[in-house]
Each structure stands twice: as C-alpha cells, then as structure tokens.
C-alpha cells in the first residue's frame, strides 16, 4: 500500500510540476507548430547562423523584414570556425538553419554533401564585384550571396622606404637594400616550419602557375595548373631566395614573429591581410598598402577569400529565406551595416567604393582586384597538405627539380582518389 501511495504522490507532484513548467513553455510550443504547419498568424521563423561580428547587422536588416512579412528572424551566434562543420552535420538531420554565414572555400564540400541551395541574384548580381560572385560559383551555378572579400596585400613601412609602391619584386628588394635592409628586405610569412602558400600565392601566379585552371564561367576545374615550366620557375625562385640562395626566406617566421619584425622596423616589407593593420598602427608604424609586386612576368594575383550567406538545401522556408537574402540583405543599406560591423572589403561595388576613401582599405581593395578567388572545389583540401611542406623544403635548399614535380604528382594522385 505504502508503495502505491508513494508512487501516487510522486506522480501527482510530477504532473503539478509539469503543469507549472508547461505554462512557461506554451509560447515556444506554438512557435514550433507555426513553423511546421504554417497556418499561425504570427508567421514563420527563419533561423540564421552568424558569427558574433555580423549578428547585429543581420538583426537590424531583419527588423524591416519582420515588419513587412510578419515572419520572425532568429539569429544564432556561433564561432565562425564552427559554422562549416555544424552546417554540414546538422542540415541533413533537419536541425540546420535556413541561412548561414560562411566562407566561399567551404562551397565545394557543401555542394558535394548536398547541403546548399542555389541562389539567383537576378539583375542585382551586376551590383556585386565580379570576383565575389566567381568565388561562390560552382559548376556555373551561384550558391550564396556574397557580402565581403579579403585578400593579402603588400604592406610597407613608409618611414623606412617611403610611400611609393614597388611594381616588381626586384624593385622592392632594391628599395629595401637602399634603405639598409639587405639581410631581410622582405618578410615572408611561412607559419613557422609548416609552410603557408596562401600568403605567398601572388608570387606564384606572377609566374603563371595557378593551382587549378579556371573555365570561362569563372569556375575552377580540377585540372592542375601549377605543374609544367611555370611552376618549376616559381619553385626555382623560392629556392634561389631560400637558404641555398639569397637567404631572404627562412622557415622561422610564424605569425607573431613576422608581425614583431615588421612592427619593430626590422624589415620594411611584408605581405599580410587587413587583420594585422591594428598591430602595426598600435606599434606606431606608418604603413602604406598596395598590390603585391610581381616576381615573374605576369600579374601577381593573391587569393581572394569571400564571405557570404548560404541557403540551406533543406530549408522549410526557402521562399521566405530567399526573400530575406535577395530583397533585404543584398540592399545597399544592409551591406553598409555589415561593413560597419566588421570592416572588410565590401562585396557590393557601391559600398566598396565608399569604403575605399580610407587609403588602407583602398590598398587592400586594389590588391584584391588583382586577385583570384581561392578555389572552392573540394580538391583544394588535398593541395594544401602537399603544397605547404614543399615551400619549406625549397626554402631549406632541396632541389626544386625533384620536390616540385613530386608534389604535383602527389596532388594529382590525391585528387584522383
């Protein structure tokens, strides 16, 4: 009897507690039903994943949208680095967002995993910088609405070498040597002994050796462009400036050491992205930013990284989400707000031009305009793993005629897998 009594009491208590909890959770429940069945008067819910910098700008654009459509926009903040893996893992389970912020080099994996929908910017597409659209183009289809781009550029210490930007590698070395920096005229960031081809990619393209060839529509093909004579010429150039040659390049420069050397005036030139500028200006260095000088015969094109908004392939509110993206987030005002929230080169030409009033931003924009989008095909993952170590091998004086072709065949092997 007592046992039954105990059970009864606990059951009654649970129900009472539940009722109390239930009171609180009622509105949430109606929201869920509204989302799944639609008919609710308070409209559907759009879930947008964003990093902390952009969340506020998205929310302010969402205000007008909510007013116009009666939908609610929920912005979920995540670390930028987590967005890729979380989006990949959660969209197939149906738990993913309708829209996420993301980088363009995730695209290949997203497409292959079938988690993103195509986006049609229609006539509005003409208002965006072409390179940002190319970046989000995969096999001829656009998969996201871009909002910002970034690339590395040549940063020089104006106190040491003046304002004038060097046009070629030799000219830059000459300027630095004249200023008394013959030992380290230029800082090549190599991420310590791990190698970093991202930062120095512009020098490679100046030899006419892109990683992958691009087709007419701007999409990357999986055909490798860094083999052949041009690639070898670049490898030879790395070797000639490494420990076996002039000694300008070492495998000792990691992010902090590179910034330290530049900020203390140990060397007048460095190639880095906009994110290092505060470090230098805080150290009291006057900098000028411009396009990267060519080491070979062609234009030095750095990688351009583009950020944009992806649309989930499994979104239950695809129409609403598209309306939000193309009708609201693509507007000049929303893009301006995004720029103000986190100053990167805007993808919208009009906003980019107004941002270019700032000479440093103009310098990075000029560099990006020379640039090519970083390949967004999944094969790129295989490239980094072989490409970066070879930079170190060449700097440390290994024979370019063996290590470079070996790398090319390894990359081809990994891609063919």
């Amino acid at each position: 009897m007592r046992k039954q009594f105990g059970l009864g009491v606990s059951l009654a208590a649970s129900v009472a507690l539940l009722a109390a909890c239930g009171g609180g959770s009622d509105p949430a429940e109606t929201a869920t039903t509204a989302e799944t069945t639609g008919g609710g008067a308070d409209g559907a819910e759009l879930v947008v994943w964003s990093d902390a910098e952009r969340a506020e700008a998205i929310e302010s654009a969402a205000g007008q949208f909510e007013e116009d459509t009666g939908a609610t926009v929920t912005v979920v903040q995540k670390n930028f680095e987590d967005l890729r893996a979380d989006f990949l893992a959660q969209v197939p389970t149906g738990e993913g967002p309708d829209i996420t912020v993301g980088a363009h080099d995730w695209l290949g994996e997203f497409v292959e995993s079938g988690v993103v929908d195509t986006v049609d910017l229609g006539d509005r597409a003409g208002a965006f910088e072409q390179v940002t659209l190319d970046a989000f183009t995969y096999e001829g289809q656009l998969y996201a609405m871009p909002y910002a781009q970034e690339s590395v550029a040549l940063i020089q210490n104006t106190e040491l070498v003046g304002e004038e930007a060097p046009a070629t590698w030799d000219e830059m070395i000459q300027m630095a040597t004249d200023a008394g920096f013959e030992e380290r005229p230029f800082i090549l960031y190599t991420n310590g002994p791990e190698g970093d081809m991202y930062t120095s990619y512009a020098f490679q393209t100046s030899f006419g050796a892109p990683v992958f060839t691009q087709d007419d529509a701007g999409s990357y093909t999986s055909e490798i462009g860094l083999g052949g004579e041009n690639g070898l010429a670049y490898a030879q150039w790395l070797y000639d400036n490494g420990s076996a040659g002039t000694g300008y390049f070492t495998d000792t420069i990691d992010y902090d050491i590179g910034n330290e050397l530049f900020a203390t005036g140990e060397s007048p030139f460095i190639v880095q992205g906009p994110w290092v500028i505060p470090t230098y200006t805080d150290a009291g260095i006057d900098v000028a930013v411009g396009p990267i000088p060519a080491a070979g015969g062609e234009t030095a094109s750095p990688f351009v990284g583009v950020q944009g908004f992806y649309l989930s392939a499994q979104s239950a509110n695809a129409l609403l989400a598209t309306e939000f993206l193309t009708g609201y987030m693509a507007s000049d005002d929303a893009q301006q707000a995004l720029y103000e929230a986190d100053p990167r080169i805007p993808a919208l030409t009009a906003v980019a031009e107004s941002a270019a009033d700032d000479p440093i931003m103009a310098g990075f924009l000029a560099s990006a305009q020379n640039g090519v989008p970083m390949p967004n095909i999944p094969e790129m993952g295989a490239v980094w793993e072989f490409w970066n170590p070879v930079q170190i091998a060449l700097i440390n004086g290994e024979d370019p005629d063996t290590v470079w072709p070996e790398m090319v065949s390894n990359i081809e092997g990994a891609i063919a897998e």
Binding site: A41, T69, G70, P92, G114, P193, L319, P389
Partner: protein, 530 residues
C-alpha cells in the same frame, strides 16, 4: 531517514522500523519529482522532434529510475543506477556510435539520406536559361490549383504545372509590372505566402512550362515576386530511385557505395551514407599509399610512448631521490619549484617551447648553441628529439611527485639490512629500492604509456606532425603519432572528411592500447611477488 531505536530491543533493520514517510522520504520525493519533470519534458521534446530512439531510451531510463527508487527490492541499484546511466550516456553511446560510423562511409559527400542526395542533385542540375529575363510574377490560384502570372512587355500570361503559359486579357498590373488582378484567378496576397509554410513549399516547387515543348524550360520563382526561365538536366523517378539525364539519356541509379552512378561510370556529386562492412578497416591496412608512412608512424608512436615514460620516470626518480635526502636544505621550496612545469597547461608550454626552439629567433639556439641555427623543428631527427625533450620537461614533475611519495613509503629496515650486509649504493638501489618502487609505480607507468600513446596535444602544438615525409603521397610527417595521423587522414581539420576511416583507425588504436595495457598489467603482477 528518521529511524527510531526503541530502548531495550536489539537494533533492527531499517526496513522493519520504518514508520512512514519521514524527512528523508520527502527529500527523495522532491528530487524524484524534479527528475520526473525533467524526464517527461525531455520525452515531450523527443516526441516533438520525432526522435523515436531517444524517446524510447528516455522512457525506459525514467521508468527504471522510478521503479528503482520507489521499490524496496532494488537497494544496490539505488547506489549504482546514476553511475550506470552516466556510463551509458557518456561512454557506451560514444563507443557504440564510433563503432557504427566505422562501418559506414559517413564523410564528405556521404552525409544524408538518398532522398536528400536526389534533392541536391536536382538543385544542382537546374539552371537559369542564360538569356532569360526576370519577369514580374504573382502567384495565382483557382480551386486549390496554383499557377504563376507573369508580365512580359506589359502582357500578362498565366500557366500552371500542367498548362503552359497563355496570355490572358483584362489583367491589371501595378507600377512594378506585377499582375494584381487576373480574370478567372485569385492573386495570392504576399502576406499569405509569407505566413503559410506549406503554401511556400508548393510555390517553390512549382514549375510552369513556357511552352508545350519541355526543352524550352519552365518559369520558377524563388521569392514569389519574380520569375525566370529555368531548365533542368535531371529528372527524379522516386519509384525506381533513379535520376535520368534529359540531355544524354543516361540513367543514374544508386550503387552500394551511396552514390548515383550511370552505366558509363559517371558519379553525381552528392551521395548518402551506407554501411560498407569492413572496408574502412581493410583500407587502413592495405592501401599502399598509407602502408609505408603508417608503419613509420606506428614505430615512432611506440618509441615516443616508451621513451617518454622511461626518460620522465628516470629523471623524476633521480630528482626524487636527490631531494629525498635529509641533508638537502629547503626541500619544500625546491620541490615546489620542481613541479612547476606540471602546473602549466600542456598546450601553453608546447607553444612556448615552439617559440624557444625557433631556429632563427629562438632562445635555445641563441643562448646555448651560439646562434648555430639548428633546425630543432624542421629536421626529422631533431624534431623527434625536441618532442621527447619537451614532453620530458612536461611530465617529469609527475614522476617526481609519484616517486617521492613512493620512496617515503618504503620501509627503511630493508635498505639498512642490505647496507649492513655490505651492499653498495648501486646494489641497494637496483635490488631493493627499485623493485619495491615498481610495485606501486608500474601500473602508473602503464597508464602513462597509454596516455602518451594518444598524446595529441604535444604533437599538434609543437610540430603539427612535421616535418613532412619527403615525397610521401600521404600528408604525414616525421613526428606524427597514430592519433595525429588519424586526425590528418580523417580530414576533420578541413578539406575532405572521412569519418568512417577515422573511426575505424581509432578503434584499431583503442584495441592496440587495450591489448598492450592488459599484457603489461599482467606483467606487473609478477612484480608484486617480491
């Protein structure tokens, strides 16, 4: 529990003297109420989310909890149950799930279901006709049938999924050209479109052919206010589960690897995950590209684990014996200073050492090697040495602590007897102190080996596995141990992820460590026979 002992009687069991619900019972009741409330809430959430497995597990766990804590027959379980639940949730689940993934091809390109892969293929195959203008568009309906009304050069045309676009007369358009009134059709207000999710989906899925010829393409809208002409090169047959290329006629059918493949061997990008049996395990052992580098990595993993334990144990013991001598002054202060490396987070120390070992700017070369520029981190052998050195620095304090304690617990009479018998210092140490010490420290040494076998932090933070094997066709390096090699191979860090292979490899590592530990523990039993 309010238990009353009546004077003069022998103490009885709690059960017999129980006199109804006391404070203990009420406390239990409140706790169980909270647990039940949370449990029922979780069950409702699981129901709403449609996760039936989670729901079933929750129901079973909750019912079991209620039975255990309100039954009098399950006394031992009352103590064991919380532990068992945590074991199941935090250990067994991850273990079983890793085991499950190891037998699938879950990874980039194989993440969802077949239907999702087909959806993705259709999305990717549908393209806007290149010179198609953007038409102002309105969604219209009649008797539940949906259609589009578009304006082209001021002429409004209406069509549905079955009937191609036909111009209608008498329609009205607004300034932007959007049809606002179409005779015979009701224009669906935008507001309704935005609030009705089911309607939205129908509109997004609707394709209105431009003409009787399907090759001309169809109008689709993405946001409900403008349309453009699209053509799709694929059609999906849900019954046969095949995708057909309308241009080449090739039929893509599902294969047993979770991809749509055409008879000529073309594969569509998006796939789904399927069980692949022992394939991942077979690949780990037989893939020729992996075999050589993985063997080197395995040898280095064992060398690293064993050498780390030996060196840190040796240094720790040596220091412990020195500082255990009563003639040393300021023992406490010195001991505290000695265990400092232990107090730093390992990854911070590794980063610090990485900076100090920098061949050009690092203090190690500058202070101790007269700026000789030794490549501590980029020469294969020096990098291995650096790893061992830094790990020694990180882990000797642990052994210093452990052996200090063990030394102090050793009986002094045995050593004294040995001394009287004329044993020298070395003899005393090797025949008396060390064997006695091993009884208590050998199990710890095995645990330490198992830990270092998987010591990802030090490798990742100090060298990242580099320097890379020259010319190897897999991205592994001279200081990679198995666990960091798994991290590299799986592509979790970026690029293509292959969770199936990574899970299979980690299961292999788990088994290897399990066997080694079991064998080693069996050996340590012999030590106790001294």
């Amino acid at each position: 529990m309010s238990v009353t002992h009546e004077a003069g009687t022998r103490p009885e069991s709690h059960a017999r003297t129980w006199s109804g619900p006391g404070w203990g019972f009420i406390a239990k009741l409140v706790i169980m109420m909270v647990i039940n409330a949370i449990g029922v809430l979780a069950i409702f959430s699981a129901y709403n989310a449609g996760s039936w497995v989670v729901l079933a597990v929750l129901v079973v766990l909750l019912a079991a909890a209620d039975w255990i804590y309100f039954s009098r027959r399950a006394l031992p379980l009352k103590y064991l149950y919380p532990g068992l639940v945590f074991l199941a949730v935090f250990q067994m689940f991850t273990l079983l799930y890793t085991g499950y993934v190891a037998f699938t091809n879950y990874g980039t390109g194989h993440l969802g279901s077949m239907e999702q892969a087909a959806d993705a293929a259709l999305i990717q195959a549908e393209r806007r006709v290149e010179d198609s203008p953007t038409y102002p568009l309105a969604v219209v309906r009649e008797d539940g049938e949906l259609g589009f009304a578009i304006t082209n050069d001021g002429v409004v045309s209406v069509g549905t999924a079955e009937d191609p676009l036909e111009p209608v007369s008498g329609a009205a358009i607004d300034d932007a050209g959007t049809p606002v009134q179409v005779p015979g059709w009701e224009v669906v207000p935008r507001a309704e479109l935005f609030t009705d999710t089911a309607l939205q989906e129908r509109v997004v899925d609707l394709r209105v052919p431009v003409s009787d010829d399907a090759a001309d393409g169809s109008i689709r809208t993405r946001e409900g206010s403008s349309g453009a002409i699209y053509t799709s090169s694929l059609t999906w047959d849900p019954a046969a589960q095949t995708l057909t290329d309308t241009e080449t006629g090739a039929v893509y059918s599902p294969d047993d690897r979770g991809s749509f493949v055409s008879p000529s061997g073309d594969r569509l990008a998006a796939g789904w995950y399927v069980p692949v049996g022992f394939d991942n395990f077979v690949r780990a052992f037989t893939d020729t590209a992996y075999a050589g580098p993985l063997l080197q990595v395995t040898l280095w993993t064992f060398a690293f684990g064993i050498l780390t334990v030996l060196t840190s144990f040796g240094v720790g013991l040596l220091l412990a014996m020195i500082y255990n001598d009563s003639r040393v002054r300021g023992q406490k202060v010195l001991r505290t200073v000695l265990i400092l490396p232990y107090a730093f987070p390992a990854f911070m120390s590794a980063l610090l050492w990485r900076g100090m070992l920098n061949s050009e700017f690092g203090v190690i070369n500058e202070w101790f090697f007269f700026g000789a520029g030794l490549d501590w981190l980029s020469d294969p052998w020096l990098a291995k040495f650096s790893i061992l050195w830094v790990n020694l620095w990180l882990s000797y304090p642990y052994w210093f602590l452990v052996t200090t304690g063990a030394l102090q617990a050793l009986p002094t009479d045995v050593t004294e007897a040995a001394r009287i018998d004329g044993a020298g210092r070395w003899r005393q140490f090797s025949s008396i102190t060390l064997p006695l010490l091993m009884v208590s420290t050998a199990p710890l040494a095995i645990a330490s080996f198992a830990f270092n076998f998987n010591n990802f932090t030090i490798i990742f933070m100090l060298t990242g596995g580099g320097p890379a094997f020259p010319g190897a066709s897999v991205p592994l390096g001279a200081t990679d141990i198995l666990i960091s090699a798994i991290y590299q191979i799986s592509g979790v860090a970026g690029g293509r992820a292959d969770y199936g292979l990574a899970s299979a490899l980690s299961i292999i590592v788990f088994i290897v460590i399990g066997i080694i530990s079991a064998l080693a523990f069996r050996q340590t039993r012999k030590l106790e026979e001294i």
